[in-house]
Symmetry: C6
Subunit: 303 residues, 6 copies
């Protein structure tokens, strides 16, 4: 543990830490502890505590908070609906991940963020799960469309991830029944070039047209799903987005209790309890959405 | 502050300066103060005043004035109508920016310029606002078409900005309902190559045709809007363009009072009052149009 | 023999070793013996035995075992059906190779593996044999489709091999009657570039379309065959996949006896007998599937 | 002034010199004076006179005279009709430029040349003026077609300029109503690569076809215009081309007087009078046609 | 002669040697003599004899024998039919070359080889001769199809040569009546790049389609011819292929006598007679098939 | 004159030499004199004579004679008809060039050659003359078709020149009425890359198709013309080709006298007279066909 001379508080369990950061490389973990140690020093504490570690994780995942940015009321509102759109579609669709944290505090390049977490390490992903992932990623844009009848530039990163994932489903994982069990396009592993999978076409323009159709069909299907979910839960969307505007950040437990109808006062009265502390449970593993979408094949390749 | 040995006049407020130059990098600000200090020295003054800072800002945005160029009467007239076309379309359409300055004094490569300013810092831009931006940018060309029934080579830069912005709306921000919530084309961030977003196609020629159609539709819509606005305000266009030919430069307050019908004499009688001085108000933030169009996604990305 | 100071056990026959590793280069063999010597040292043995050599072969072919990975029940189940899909299609179709080992113990990037072996060294491959090879490679995906009515990301490597092999049949070996006895696309032998055969098209887009159709037809034919075989042997698939979940690894003899209906208890009661030992027969040559598909032309070129 | 030790004759006015060479860079001017100084030395004169400066200008624009080339009668005749074709179309169409000099004395790579001059510096060019420019450039080829019913290789440079200009009108200046107010194709400013504007397509092949149609339409329109002008003035073309064959070079005043019907004898009787001297007028500004066509956008960009 | 200290046997005639190796470069000849000298040393002989030179030639042409490879009965059978297919089509079609040697002893990458020889040096090749060359090259594949009703990977090199030759006929030698007397595609002579003729297309996709059609037509015609010849001589094919399986190598004289119906015993009783020795005739010039197809234009260019 | 210490014979006129070598660069001339000086030395002469200079010219144009090559009777016959095909089409079509020499003695890469010469230096070339040039270049292939009803590989260089010239007519010289007065494709002057004119397309695939059609039409027209001329003069072709087989080389005067019907004996009785000597006339200027086709635009550009 590179902890810069700062010991970990005795109540910290290293197992919990590792379990809470699936997908982290060794460098990520070192980075995390450094960030936590710096925070500890800045706060004049002697031991790295749970709060410092949590913030360290957030910084590695999404960058430091940018509290100096001043957003307009309208921007805060759009952002809150956008993030809650992700969270609600994810909550109602996603069978294998939980909503871990929702926030409209700007971090890095993002105006807000929603973090979901797998319930366990995954090595195989099904077509259904990838469709749900697409739906959740399009949930932010869908919320903007439904509530404001207008779209903004803010969804650009979501759209990139949706496009890349839909392409992989069609071109790498053989998940288009029409095109059959094959790959399309040549991949390049040269780290220097850094080109994405299927970057170089190896098919006719007619086949390219069919691929385009399939990608469009996949995205359209997920888009319709996201809109359907949010329309069915429009009351929740309005209520929860307004709560998010007020509270700025909502964690997993709060999210679930608020959604279940518990009163805001009661839910946040418990907020003083440290995360994962109140009921003695360990925090669940969190996988941050803002990280580049992992190529499932490297998790679950099999022959 | 790199002010080359010249102190700032005591009445200058640094906050005002920073507020008046949104989007300026540190290097831009250093440049600005250098320009102002040079002017101060050339004018034999001991302190950098408000006038020198204002001119410094203009130089950083649009280059130095080119008063030695001799334009024909016709060129001055075309330029005045062109700039007033930008200003009027911007004024009547633009919900979030004000017209800051209109001029037919040549600066850098430009024969004239119109500067508009956002009322506050923006992190998200809506599709509607981008359509208004397109309309304003096409306002110069539209004025030429309506008044002279002829087009000139002078709109080349406007057309580049219109094309690039329309492409981003369709290919990066998912603002074409027909093509759906996705990105189109691969972007490249390699600073050495400096290629624009979506430079490399990753779709079939059939899809390329649909993209072309959508880009053309977006531009056509904005063009029709710009022409409609100017036809409805043709009297204003004639009156204001002629005032601009006579006065060469019109600032925000003058523009609004003249447009409201106040007499030329009265408006310009106040012109001796230093900019932003007369009513004790600070100058509003100005964002220069001639700067390359910022990628909205870097301002307002959100996940 | 580079055996790192460890002598081979006297009962090891070098001929047997070489015969059991067809396609191994000199470097592969050196690697194999090194791995076996390391294992021998780690196990505190004085002589490299048959077991160490067998494990050495597996490490060279498929990488070291990854027992620390924790798979979910569902992932183990999907993997078992996937591998047994390969094995059964291979068994019922393949005329020239035997199933050597089936395992759901993760090695390298793979969650499981199936190894088949040619009955003798091959220098020529017929179109029929390549179609069977395609069918066996698609057997894993076909099993997932039939049993779970769902596909996963786990077949990505299989799909790459299927696509590359189907391309070679059509573009390099003249095995499409429609396109005739010719090659299509230029190959590149430059080792630095490392591009695959037929990487650069040298034909019209119309021809590219016909090539796409032929490749799709070849893959579709193999896919239908694989599904047909598994549907006809669905009972075997269910029974054998469940056995594999329990036993984790099944070797050639066990596979054949279990498939023939012998009881699990009896088959595995013999498992203490060392591989290839019980009946005094030498192990058959094994060719590992996970190795990149060899270009048949370099084995069997002829003029 | 780099005049190689040769003083300028006292009657030379530097203003006149600069005014007569619009578009000349500093290097061009230095070159001009060097050429004039060399001529002065070769002619054994002590001062650089008007004649030497005029010849210096011609050398910088079109290269040195090539009097050693021996042309056939037919080649001289074709060249005379070609140059007079340029001059007459330019004269009857061109509203903003005058014919400055017409010659069939070979210079550099050219067999003859026609120089026209703008009446004042221009920063904006209208679509109409560009169409006239196209017409004048096609006038040489049109004269060959009409008179000899045959075309030659001699128009290659004209055709390059016509094509490049028509492309810019359609692709850079938004002068095709059909394609709308936008740019087409990416430009490159990298000086090392030196690629022309719009070198890299960024549109579908369907759009490429529409661009081709528009370029062809623009060129066809100008071609028809040039032929129409020459057919209407066929008598002038025959008379003036024959005069040019005899006299080899005709200047602006001679051209206008001959065209107006004055007798050859009377017009050339005055030819002893030095250029621009006879009536005390300064020579008009001349812009040489043979220079590469300037990108209007760099002269008249405006925003 | 680089003969590594080994003298040539006195009966060797250098003229014969040179005559027997048309197309050999100086380096090829040096290589040949070195190989022969090595063999001579290995065989403990003092002089390089005819046998050593013959083997030297074979090594330069086709690589060393690979007797350690163990082929299956089926592979030997397929190879024998394949080589005899080349030989018989060549024999019955080829007007200007003789069959020099047929063998199923593996050399280099090849499982077997057939060598034909021109009866004299050639500088011009007719379309008819090139069609015959195509037919002979496809003879191996055709024999597999007819006899085994199956194709193998073994014809890959033949298919490459067929494709390249058909392309040259259509694209370089103007031998497609439909496309006319012209070349198609740009050639590159840069030795570093080593690209083949016509590597870079310089035509529309429509033209590319026509070129594809013509190439396909040429190959199809030769394929049909090869099949027709072998079907008409199926008895010979069966008889001769079986003789080749038994004898492994058949030379020109044996081939012709066996084909003429002489008994196997009698033909091979003479085999002790050294090649080209029995009847005092010199061996005819042999041109090896396995060498890359020479560009006829460099042999027979003419203007 | 670089004459390697060998003086020119006094009867040599340098003017004649220069006049006889139009298109030669300084380096070509130096090369010529060196070759002549070497020959003079080899022949033991003291002065460079007319014969040595003539041979020097041929070596520079077409390379040294290759008398060691042994051609078959059929090859000599095909070559004679091919060269006479060039000569007769050239003679009956070409209005501006004479046939200078016809030979079936191999030089450089060529099996034979025909040299034609312009009657004077040319700076402009008409479309009609280029069509005649195409016809003459296709005359060799046309003769093969008519006489042998078969084509050979020997015309490859002719076809390259035909293709390149037809492309220039359509793409550079605006000689296709359908495509209009414009250039097509970007040219590259970079000497290092050495790419031909119009190497890079700048048009749609539809336009590419039209260009292909026009190129094909131009070549077809010339091909038909060449065949027509030879069919009309088939008797001459047979007679003259047979004379060429016997005499190997025929010069301009012999060609014209033989064609006019003078007897072989009488024409060649005069052959002892040195070239250009008998009638005291100077040799006419000769331009060698085998040199790469000059871009007419560099000879006759005009603006």
């Amino acid at each position: 543990m590179h902890s810069k001379g700062k010991p970990l508080a005795p109540e910290i369990e290293l197992d919990t830490l590792a379990a809470g950061t699936p997908g982290f490389t060794g460098a990520d973990l070192a980075n995390l502890v450094n960030e936590a140690a710096l925070l500890t020093a800045r706060r004049g504490l002697k031991q790295i505590g749970q709060a410092e570690l949590e913030e360290g994780i957030m910084r590695v995942i999404a960058g430091p908070e940018k509290r100096t940015r001043l957003f307009s009321e309208q921007e805060r509102k759009v952002t809150a609906y956008h993030e809650m759109g992700h969270a609600l579609v994810g909550h109602f669709l996603q069978r294998t991940e939980d909503i871990h944290k929702i926030s409209i505090i700007s971090r890095g390049q993002a105006l807000g963020y929603t973090i979901s977490l797998p319930r366990e390490d995954r090595y195989l992903t099904t077509r259904t799960e990838l469709m749900e992932e697409l739906g959740m990623t399009l949930g932010g844009r869908a919320a903007e469309e439904i509530v404001f009848n207008e779209v903004t530039t803010g969804a650009a990163n979501d759209l990139e991830r949706v496009t890349q994932l839909a392409k992989q489903m069609v071109m790498r994982f053989g998940m288009s029944e029409k095109l059959g069990p094959r790959v399309l396009g040549r991949s390049h592993d040269q780290p220097f070039m850094g080109r994405e999978y299927g970057a170089e076409p190896d098919y006719s323009d007619e086949m390219a047209r069919e691929i385009d159709d399939e990608i469009r069909r996949v995205i359209e299907e997920a888009h319709v799903t996201a809109q359907k979910v949010l329309r069915e839960h429009l009351e929740d969307l309005n209520r929860m987005a307004n709560l998010l505007i007020g509270r700025e950040t909502i964690d997993r437990e709060q999210f679930e209790r608020l959604l279940a109808g518990e009163s805001e006062e009661r839910v946040f009265a418990d907020a003083a309890v440290p995360p994962g502390g109140g009921d003695g449970k360990k925090p669940r593993k969190s996988r941050a959405k803002p990280k580049p979408y992992p190529l499932p094949g490297t998790e679950g390749a099999k022959s």
